[in-house]
């Protein structure tokens, strides 16, 4: 029996509790503390956390069981988690799993007999540029070719007590500007001095000398739209914060990047974190907030470390804390680590999670701008959105607006993954075409294969056929062709891709990530996955296609958040655009691609 001594955690616990306005918000960080100390969260740990945050142990267990990164049982010293989301599947994740299973002698979900190595599969880790990839304990590793797998297994089996040394993936490809990605070339991060030398914090300096309303007007004028995926005008969102509400206002950064096929915010957090902090200072000042949180997905360990480092630098240099740069404006930032749940990227789910609960989206009304975090007026903005704000303030709204279209200013970071020669994150004006992203930035399809389909805005976006790629990537143009710009995650599929299997991977993701709150989504996402899996196994029935479409339609517009709609869209678009492939599967029980080309099994 392991002996759990919590007395040594008391000081740290008190420090954690001190960061939050309400005790319950410390739930996730305290659970992290327990897990980091003991390797897992034992019942004694749940009881200890419950007592610290005034929650019954049942409610602590709710939280522990909701997030994938918490373990109630000990796991291997080396935890290899292979990503099985669409972009990794397209690039051979299945083969990676088969090889690891063979070499380790265990199946997925199992731990080696000596208890040293655990193998799991996970949904999108948002590092699709190094697909197929995996997370080993805290570190990301990819591209997992045969040599990389060999090296990984060798290290893990020969000295399982030591952290596996993984080479920095070489596939991190980033463009150099024109706006947000200027400093992405700094692989080890852009730190305070370099950031300032590069003109950093000038936007914030300017903003602190302006009236809050002037800042909001400037951002409205820039046509900056929410780059997390919803595309809502940022300045307009800020203007919803009530001026006469005596409650504290909160700025919350949505750094819960999780949309399969999206890996852009990680670059800002790891390579240019001060750009985010500067944007936060501007936004907080504009909405009258003195406390901001950065909610970073739990898997992004390095992002969390680097963001924390940047925050500490900003405090040390007088850009955070009391009386910032003598302006009289105070701002505190707390970096908050998520624990593995895609839904927490939905802004109200993120707030629920930040408040220490399961990531359940909240009923609207009230909207966060009126009653958000701790029932106070709250603005939730995406990392890239806020990073853009510092540039807007520095160079002016007109400059930014001019880069984009009439209704969406500036540039965007596009994450290009799947079947392209050069997967990576590319910054381009929002009017860039999908064709250019695939063929110019991504350098086309490998092996001279033909393009079959492309998802333009993260896995939730409706799929486009190869003949639909001459479309600009701004929010309005993509909406006009019946899909969406979403998170800017472009997932490319070549002619060898089985669309039934591709839909199965997408549906698996949604079934796995549904929070389970609303009945249509909870039941529908699982049902859709079961149906498409059956078709994929060759056990399709003639009424499966109408049934899948009916079920998908029944989920739309009936739930608290749009996750259910997002789960329905791939089903509808894959079937409608590639109907004959589904028909063939059902009629013959086989995939026709397997017969004609070397099928990539996804």
């Amino acid at each position: 029996m392991q002996n759990f001594d919590f007395t040594k955690l008391e000081a740290k616990a008190a420090e954690i509790l001190g960061r939050y306005e309400e005790k319950r918000a410390a739930t996730l960080p305290l659970l992290w503390l327990v897990q980091e100390t003991f390797g897992h969260i034992p019942p004694e740990g749940e009881a200890w956390v419950g007592q610290k945050v005034d929650k019954s142990i049942a409610h602590v267990r709710e939280v522990v069981s909701f997030y994938t990164l918490y373990h109630t049982q000990p796991i291997g010293k080396q935890h290899i988690q292979v990503c099985v989301s669409t972009p990794c599947m397209l690039r051979g994740a299945k083969k990676v799993i088969a090889q690891l299973e063979e070499k380790l002698g265990i199946g997925v979900g199992q731990t080696t007999r000596d208890g040293k190595i655990t193998l799991s599969t996970v949904e999108c880790l948002c590092a699709c540029e190094s697909a197929p990839m995996a997370q080993v304990n805290d570190d990301y590793t990819g591209i997992l070719d045969a040599a990389a797998i060999d090296s990984l297994v060798k290290q893990a089996t020969q000295s399982p007590e030591k952290p596996v040394q993984l080479p920095e993936p070489t596939a991190y490809i980033a463009t150099d500007g024109p706006v947000i990605s200027q400093r992405f070339k700094n692989v080890n991060g852009t730190w305070f001095d370099a950031y300032v030398a590069d003109g950093g914090y000038q936007g914030a300096k300017k903003a602190l000398g302006m009236q809050p309303q002037q800042i909001i007007d400037e951002v409205i004028k820039s046509n900056l739209r929410g780059l997390g995926g919803a595309g809502f005008p940022t300045g307009k969102k800020w203007s919803f914060i009530p001026k006469d509400n005596p409650k504290p206002k909160y700025l919350v950064v949505n750094a819960d990047e999780g949309e399969p096929g999206t890996f852009k915010d990680r670059y800002i957090l790891e390579r240019d974190p001060h750009a985010l902090i500067e944007g936060m200072i501007i936004a907080a000042f504009a909405i009258g907030s003195h406390k901001a949180y950065i909610y970073i997905r739990g898997e992004y360990v390095r992002s969390i470390e680097r963001t924390n480092k940047a925050v500490a630098e900003a405090y040390a240099k007088g850009w955070l804390g009391k009386n910032i740069q003598g302006s009289g404006f105070d701002l505190d930032i707390v970096v908050h680590r998520g624990a593995g749940a895609y839904i927490c990227g939905e802004e109200t789910a993120l707030l629920s999670s930040l408040e220490g609960s399961k990531g359940f989206p909240k009923l609207k009304p009230p909207f966060p701008a009126i009653s958000g975090l701790f029932k106070s007026p709250t603005i939730v903005n995406n990392v890239e959105t806020l990073a853009s704000v510092s540039h807007i303030l520095r160079n002016g709204a007109e400059w930014y607006a001019k880069i984009g279209t009439a209704k969406q200013g500036g540039t965007r970071l596009f994450s290009v993954s799947g079947h392209v020669v050069r997967p990576g994150v590319y910054e381009a004006p929002v009017s860039v075409t999908l064709r250019d992203l695939i063929y110019k930035y991504g350098q086309g399809i490998p092996g001279g294969k033909k393009l079959k389909a492309v998802v333009p805005g993260g896995i939730s976006a409706k799929i486009l056929r190869a003949d639909e790629i001459d479309v600009a990537m701004d929010f309005d143009s993509l909406m006009a062709v019946g899909t969406m710009a979403g998170s800017g995650g472009v997932i490319v599929m070549d002619e060898t891709t089985c669309m039934v299997d591709a839909l199965k991977a997408a549906s698996h993701f949604f079934a796995d990530e549904s929070c389970g709150q609303c009945s249509p989504c909870r039941e529908g996402s699982g049902w859709l996955f079961k149906m498409v899996s059956r078709v994929s196994r060759g056990q399709g029935k003639t009424d499966d296609i109408p049934n899948m479409l009916t079920t998908a339609a029944a989920m739309e517009g009936k739930t608290i958040c749009v996750f259910a709609d997002a789960a329905a869209w791939p089903v509808q678009s894959y079937i409608n655009k590639f109907r004959s492939e589904f028909d063939h599967h059902i009629a013959t029980g086989k995939c026709d691609i397997a017969q004609t080309t070397a099928k990539v099994s996804v």
Binding site: P43, E46, K55, S56, I57, A58, H59, R61, E62, S65, F66, A341, I343, K358, L363, P365, A511, D512, E513, S514, C515, G516, Q517, C518, S519, P520, R522, E523, G524, S525, G526, W527, K530, M531, R534, K541, D543, N547, T550, T551, A554, M555, G557, K558, T559, I560
Partner: protein
């Protein structure tokens, strides 16, 4: 106050009212699983979708506040399609084990399917498996497969009892209702989660498989378990003696009363109904031998008359109980008033009882306020006991009190030897009845009509639900019969007359009638 039109009916409602509440006010029922008026809004079941004019999507009625001029349609094609698909989702992984489910017949999955569902099932996949028939505490059985995850039970234990036992663990379709491993649901209000569970996930271990709910009859009453007087519905069966060993009362359910108990009752009250069918005194007993009413009452009357003739009525004492109704107590009081010298008191030492700030009161009598109002609490009963033990009492008439519990067995044993005539009158046997010389069967409170006054001074009517068992009679009837034997005038012939007489005499009750009390009570 905003004016809102629901299905063509226009109504003005208070600002802040939600559409589901406003609909109820105009008599439009909107189906619901997660919504419960006594709990916070969860908005997760999605069955209460309604069509709000100008809103692009269907809205949930439970979380949509009314707005001036709002036009709501609850029967449009969009709404009925929505309700149908929500039901199909809720039933997709549901085990459909209705034939062996205790909720069958009062299940909102069944009810709403018949009313709003009626689709041809399309779900052909393997259903998800979850734990079944798990006893999660002394009172409740859990079937996680039947759960629709509405979270009512979670909110009840969070918001009402604040005990936090329930949780919904995991996520997506793996989400599952339950308790923390090793914990039990053992709070004083646990049975309420069965009432609010809209499906067969939480069933009552006590009631489980006793009777199909369609065999149950229902009648309103008031709990006699403590001075709170929670309003209840009694569910009973009279024509199926093969069920539950012939028990008539199958279960109690809380009956809504905004001012008394809202939607809830405590477990002590909920499971306190067994006394209606167990350990009953059904026959008159004279020194251990079964007798007829006439003989017993004649014998008592003769003894009383003898005392009266000897001018020794002060050697007679009556100890009625705060378990009796106003009517019973008034009848006793009127009788003893006509027998000058007889001491009549219901003032007994309080027994320790559990209490809290929700519903439970330490005073486990339903009518202590009635006792006080009739001024039957002036003399301590302990003085009578002492007098009886020392041989100063010749006739002791105990109505519904367990003297052994109050004063100890030794005292009762002694006084039974000293007193010439020791009468016990009550519905159930107890230690005291075993020492009595004459035992008179009184009707159980569910077998008689009458009123209690609760701790808030609210007069509440209990109503006769069951036929009197055996030879038992209502206490007031026994008293009236004895009065007749003694040649005393009662002044009333029926219970309503008795109440009117009492109301006329007791000032705070002046002018009160059964009609005025109604089903929700009347505060005096």
């Amino acid at each position: 106050m905003p004016k809102i039109t629901i299905d063509g009916k226009t109504i003005e409602v208070a600002a802040g009212t939600t559409v589901i509440q406003a609909a109820e006010q105009v008599g439009v029922f909107i189906p619901r699983y997660c919504y419960h008026p006594g709990l916070s809004v969860a908005g997760n079941c999605r069955i209460c979708l309604v069509d709000v004019e100008k809103a692009p999507k269907l809205q949930i009625a439970c979380n949509t506040p009314v707005a001036e001029g709002m036009v709501v349609n609850t029967t449009s094609k969009k709404v009925t399609d929505g309700q149908q698909s929500v039901l199909e989702f809720l039933l997709a992984n549901h085990p459909l084990d209705c034939p062996v489910c205790d909720q069958s017949g009062e299940c909102d999955l069944q009810n709403f399917y018949m009313q709003y569902g009626r689709y041809d099932p399309r779900f052909e996949e393997q259903k998800n498996k979850k734990p079944k028939a798990v006893p999660i505490g002394p009172t409740v059985m859990l079937d996680a497969e039947r759960c629709v995850l509405c979270s009512r039970c979670v909110r009840f234990t969070d918001e009402i009892t604040k005990t936090g036992e329930f949780g919904i663990f995991n996520r997506g379709e793996k989400a599952e209702i339950g308790l923390y491993p090793g914990k039990t649901l053992d709070n004083d209000y646990s049975g309420n989660v069965v009432d609010i569970c809209p499906v067969g996930a939480l069933t009552d271990r006590d009631f489980r498989f006793k009777a199909r709910v369609w065999y149950l009859s229902t009648a309103p009453s008031v709990c006699n378990g403590c001075s709170q007087g929670c309003n209840i519905d009694v569910h009973y069966v009279l024509d199926r003696p093969h069920l539950a060993d012939g028990a008539r009362v199958m279960r109690l359910k809380p009956r809504y009363n905004a001012d008394v108990n809202q939607w809830w009752i405590c477990d002590e009250g909920r499971y306190g109904f067994k006394s209606a069918d167990q350990d009953r005194i059904e026959k008159i007993s004279l020194k251990g031998a079964v007798a007829a009413w006439d003989i017993a009452l004649t014998q008592i009357a003769t003894a009383v008359t003898k005392l009266k003739a000897a001018n020794q009525l002060s050697a007679m004492a009556v100890i009625p109980s705060a378990q009796l109704t106003i009517e019973d107590l008034y009848a006793v009081k009127k009788l003893t008033d006509q027998l000058p010298g007889v001491v009549c008191t219901a003032q007994v030492p309080p027994l320790p009882g559990k209490s809290d700030d929700l519903l439970m009161k330490a005073d486990k009598n339903p009518n202590s306020a009635g006792v006080a109002l009739l001024e039957l609490d002036k003399t301590p009963a302990s003085s009578i006991i002492e007098a009886a033990v020392s041989g100063q009492i010749k006739i002791l008439w105990v109505i519904g009190q367990d003297l052994v519990k109050l004063f100890g067995e030794e005292k009762v044993k002694q006084l039974a030897q000293k007193v010439e005539l020791f009468i016990y009158q009550g519905p159930n046997t107890n230690k005291t009845s075993s020492y009595a010389h004459v035992v008179l069967p009184a009707s159980h409170y569910l077998e008689k009509d009458g009123t209690f006054i609760n701790v808030q001074n609210r007069v509440q009517r209990i109503g006769k639900i069951l036929p009197a068992l055996g030879d038992s009679k209502a206490d007031w009837q026994i008293v009236a019969a004895l009065a007749a034997k003694l040649g005393l005038t009662a002044g009333w012939k029926s219970l309503p007359e008795l109440f009117v007489a009492a109301a006329a005499e007791v000032k705070p009750l002046n002018g009160l009638t059964y009609e005025k009390i109604g089903q929700q009570g009347f505060t005096v």
